[in-house]
Amino acid sequence: MTVQGAPASAYDMGHAVEAEAVATFAVLVDNEPGVLHRVVGLFAARGYNIESLTVAETDAAAHTSRITIVTRGTPHVLAQIEAQLQKLVSTRHVQNVTKDPNGAERELALVKVRGAGAKRVEALRLAEIFRAKVIDTTTASFIFEITGAPAKIDKFVGLMRPLGLVEVSRTGVLSIERGVETL
C-alpha cells in the first residue's frame, strides 16, 4: 500500500466517503454563567458548524436552559457531536431531534421590506398568504413578523427579495417533540 492519493491529514481519513446532512439538536443544560460558551466552544474547537443557535431559560425553578442547535455533518460527525455535548458536565440531556419524525420545528423572522406602488401591494398580499403579521409600517416600508418551519421562512424571504427586501432578522430554529413525550 502506498500513500499516493491519501488525504493530507491523518485525522479525517476514516469517514471521508459519508455524505453530510443537516441535523437539529435540542440540548437541556444547567443555566449557569458560561454554559453557552461551553457548547459553542465545543463546536469551535472540534471544527463543527453551527447553522443556527437559540438559547433561553426554560425552567427557572430547575435552572435549566434549552439550546437548539442546527448543524451539519456526516453521520459519524453528528454522532460525535451528540456524544461530546452529552459529555459536558453542564448538560442534562441531548437529543438529535432531526431523527424524530414527531419533531416540530419553528422559527420566527422579522422582515423589513422597502418600496412603493405595486410592489408594496404585492408584498402585503404575499404576507397575508404566509400569515405574516405587519408589526410596523411607514409610507415607504413594512416590517413583517412571520413564524413557521425554516423552509417556509426561506421561501417568504425569497419572495420578498424582488419586492424591496432590505433586512432580515431570524431567531434560529426551535424544536419540540409532538405528543406526550418530553426531552
Binding site: 500500500m1 491523518a10 485525522y11 454522532a79 460525535q80 458536565v89
Partner: protein, 602 residues
C-alpha cells in the same frame, strides 16, 4: 408520627451539630482534608493569600512549593498517576493561572484527576483589567473537564466537593475552581462531603451492558487471531483493572499490546506481551494490530500515534471497545461492540462471560506462530558500540540495574521517552508517568517531584532528554527543599533528538534550530542546586555510575553522554500503515520510505 419517632427525630436534631461558620479560605483547606488530601502543590500570590493563611494553620496538609506553576501541575499529575488519588494544585490569579494551563491541558489529554484552585481578583474588580486579572474560567473552559467561578461563599463547599467527584469519577480529568479573593475572606456555614448538594446532574455509567459483554465474549471465543489493545484507561481504573486484564488474557490465551499510557497494566515479562503499539511500537505489536481478527480495545482511544494511516488500520478485525467515555467509542475507528463502563468492572464481567463459553486455545496456534516469526525480527536491535554509549543501551542498563526495586519512572518527551517505553520493562501499573497526549517537554522532572512526595522511600527516576529537562529544570530546587532524592537520568545528545530525527528523515537533513549549541554543565548545575552531578561518557563506566546514582541519597542529575545521531526505530512514518514499519537496520531506505503526503503530517 408516633411518640417514639418524635423522640428519635428530636434526638437527631439535637445530635446534629450546628453548621460551622468559616471563611472561604478555611473552607478550601477543610474540604481538602475532608476529601482525604494530604499533599498539595502550589505557588502563593496576592489573590490566594487568604488560602495560604489558612494553610499555615492546617498541619494535616503538606504544601509543596514549586518553582513555577507548570511544575506544580506536573508534580500533581505525577502524584495522581502514581497513587490513583487526585492531585491538588493551588495557584494565584493571572500569571499563576496561565502558567498552570499547560499542566491542566496535559491532565485533560491523559485523563489525570486534578483539582486546581486558582485565586481571582475580588468580584467587584472582575472585568476591570485589574492587576493580575485574567479570565481564568474562560481560558480553562476548553482544557478542563469542568470549571467553576465561585461568586458566593455559600456555594463554595458544594463546589469543592462536587469538583472532587467530577475529577475522579467517569473519565478522570482536571477541574479548576476560580475563587475571588473577597469570597476567600467572606464567611458562611461549611458543609461536609456527605451533606454537600450536587450542583450538576453528573452520573457517569460504570457498569457495562450485559448483552454487549456477552456479544464481546462470543467474538473472543470465536476469534482465531485475537489481540488486546490496552491503554491508560486500564491504569486509571485502578489495580483491579490490571489484575482483571491479566486474568482475561491468560484465560483467552490472546496476546497483549498497549499504548504508551497503558504500559505496566500488563507485565512486560509475560510471554503474551508484545510490547508497545504505534509509531515507535514493536514490529510484532504493529503487525498483530494489522492482522488480528478480533481486537479488544480497553481504555485506549485510537490516537493517531497508535493507528497510523486510518484507512489501513487493522482492516480485517472485528473491534470491541471498552471505555468509560461514550464519546471515545467510534470517535476515530468504527466499532463493532462498544461497551461503556469502568475497565475493571467490564473486564470482570467479560471474564465471567468467557468462562461460560468454550475457549479452544489450540485454535490460536497459527496466530502465535505468526507472532513468533515477527518477534524473530528482533525489531529493537541496534548496533552496539564499545566506545560510545548508545541511548538504547543506557536504558537497558538502567532497567537491569533497577529491576526488582521499588522504582517509578517518569519521562520528558522525545526520543528518550520512546526508548524508555521500548527498553524499560514495566511489570506493574502506576509505575510509569509520561506525557502521552499533549507531549509536554518538561513534564518528567516535576512529575518525579510529585511521585517522590507520594512515595518517599521509592526510587524515582526521570528518564530525560537534554532539551526537555531544561524546560522545568528549576524544579530541582523543589526537590532539594523537600529532600526528594529524585534521579534525573539525561540521555544527552545535545540535540532535540526527535526534531533532529524528523528533519533528517523528512526535511532533507536541514537541521533547522534543533541543535543546542550551548549546553549547561549538568554536573555543575546539579552542584549549584545542592544536588549530586554524575557523568558517564563511555559504555564501560556506565554501570558503576548508575549504581552510584542509585546509592546516592540526594537528588542526582546524571549526564549520560550518548550517541548524538541515533534514531529511534522501529518507526511507522506518518501516513503509513502498521505493516509498513521502518526497522533500524533498514534505516538507509528511510528517505524513500516516506511519501510526500506523509511529510505533511505531524
Amino acid at each position: 408520627m408516633t411518640a417514639h419517632s418524635t423522640i428519635q427525630a428530636a434526638k437527631a436534631t439535637a445530635a446534629a451539630p450546628p453548621p460551622e461558620m468559616m471563611t472561604g479560605a478555611q473552607m478550601v483547606v477543610r474540604a481538602l482534608v475532608d476529601q482525604g488530601v494530604t499533599d498539595l502543590f502550589g505557588y502563593p500570590g496576592g489573590a490566594v493569600l487568604p488560602i495560604y493563611d489558612a494553610l499555615f494553620h492546617e498541619p494535616r496538609l503538606r504544601h509543596v512549593l514549586a518553582r513555577h506553576e507548570q511544575g506544580a501541575t506536573h508534580a500533581a499529575e505525577g502524584y495522581a498517576r502514581s497513587t490513583g488519588k487526585p492531585g491538588v494544585v493551588v495557584v494565584t490569579s493571572g500569571p499563576g493561572a496561565t502558567n498552570a494551563v499547560t499542566g491542566i491541558v496535559d491532565a485533560l489529554m491523559d485523563s489525570i484527576p486534578l483539582i486546581v484552585i486558582t485565586g481571582q481578583v475580588p468580584t467587584h474588580l472582575i472585568g476591570t483589567d485589574a492587576f493580575q486579572e485574567c479570565d481564568t474560567v474562560g481560558i480553562t473552559r476548553s482544557c478542563t473537564k469542568h470549571n467553576y467561578l465561585v461568586k458566593d461563599v455559600a456555594d463554595l463547599p458544594h463546589v469543592l466537593h462536587e469538583a472532587f467527584a467530577i475529577a475522579t469519577t467517569g473519565r478522570p480529568g482536571p477541574v479548576v475552581i476560580d475563587i475571588p479573593k473577597d469570597v476567600q475572606f467572606a464567611s458562611a456555614p461549611y458543609v461536609g462531603p456527605a451533606q454537600a448538594r450536587a450542583i450538576h446532574v453528573y452520573r457517569p455509567g460504570v457498569e457495562g451492558d450485559g448483552a454487549l459483554i456477552a456479544a464481546a465474549a462470543r467474538l473472543i471465543a470465536g476469534a482465531r487471531r485475537p489481540l488486546f489493545y490496552t491503554g491508560g484507561g486500564v491504569i486509571n481504573a485502578g489495580p483491579a483493572a490490571s489484575a482483571a486484564l491479566r486474568r482475561l488474557a491468560a484465560l483467552t490465551g490472546a496476546p497483549v499490546t498497549s499504548t504508551l499510557m497503558g504500559l505496566g497494566a500488563f507485565a512486560a515479562d509475560d510471554p503474551a506481551w508484545l510490547g508497545m503499539v504505534g509509531m515507535h511500537g514493536t514490529y510484532e505489536a504493529n503487525n498483530a494490530m494489522h492482522d488480528c481478527d478480533v481486537m479488544i480495545a480497553v481504555g485506549a482511544r485510537f490516537d493517531d500515534r497508535v493507528t497510523g494511516r486510518l484507512n489501513a488500520f487493522s482492516p480485517g478485525s472485528k473491534k470491541i471497545h471498552i471505555d468509560i467515555d461514550p464519546s471515545s467509542i467510534g470517535k476515530i475507528v468504527p466499532i463493532d461492540v462498544g461497551i461503556v463502563g469502568d475497565a475493571a468492572k467490564v473486564l470482570e464481567a467479560l471474564i465471567a462471560a468467557c468462562q461460560s463459553l468454550v475457549l479452544d486455545r489450540s485454535r490460536l496456534a497459527p496466530w502465535w506462530k505468526a507472532i513468533d516469526a515477527w518477534r524473530a525480527r528482533d525489531c529493537l536491535r541496534y548496533r552496539p558500540s564499545a566506545s560510545i554509549i548508545k541511548p538504547q543501551y543506557a536504558i537497558q542498563r538502567l532497567y537491569e540495574l533497577t529491576k526488582g526495586r521499588d522504582v517509578y519512572i517518569t519521562t520528558e518527551v522525545g526520543q528518550h521517552q520512546m526508548w524508555a517505553a521500548q527498553f524499560y520493562r514495566f511489570q506493574e501499573p502506576n509505575r510509569w508517568m509520561t506525557s502521552g497526549g499533549l507531549g509536554t517537554m518538561g513534564y518528567g522532572l516535576p512529575a518525579a517531584v510529585g511521585v517522590q512526595i507520594a512515595h518517599p522511600g521509592s526510587l524515582v527516576i526521570d528518564i530525560a532528554g537534554d532539551a526537555s529537562v531544561q524546560m522545568t529544570m528549576q524544579e530541582m530546587s523543589t526537590a532539594i527543599q523537600y529532600d526528594l532524592p529524585i534521579k534525573i537520568f539525561i540521555l544527552n545528545n545535545e540535540w532535540m533528538g526527535m526534531v533532529r530525527q524528523w528533519q533528517q528523515l523528512l526535511h532533507g537533513e536541514r537541521y533547522s534550530h534543533s541543535y543546542s549549541a550551548s549546553m549547561p554543565d549538568f554536573v555543575k548545575l546539579a552542584q549549584a542546586y545542592g544536588a549530586v552531578g554524575l557523568r558517564a561518557e563511555r559504555p564501560d563506566e556506565l554501570d558503576d555510575k548508575i549504581e552510584e546514582m542509585i546509592d546516592t541519597p540526594l537528588p542526582v542529575i546524571f549526564d549520560c553522554r550518548v550517541e548524538r545521531a541515533e534514531n529511534c526505530f522501529p518507526m511507522i512514518p506518518s501516513g503509513k500503515a502498521h505493516n509498513e514499519m521502518i526497522l533500524g537496520e533498514e534505516a538507509g531506505d528511510v528517505g524513500a520510505a516516506i511519501g510526500a503526503a506523509g511529510r505533511g503530517l505531524v
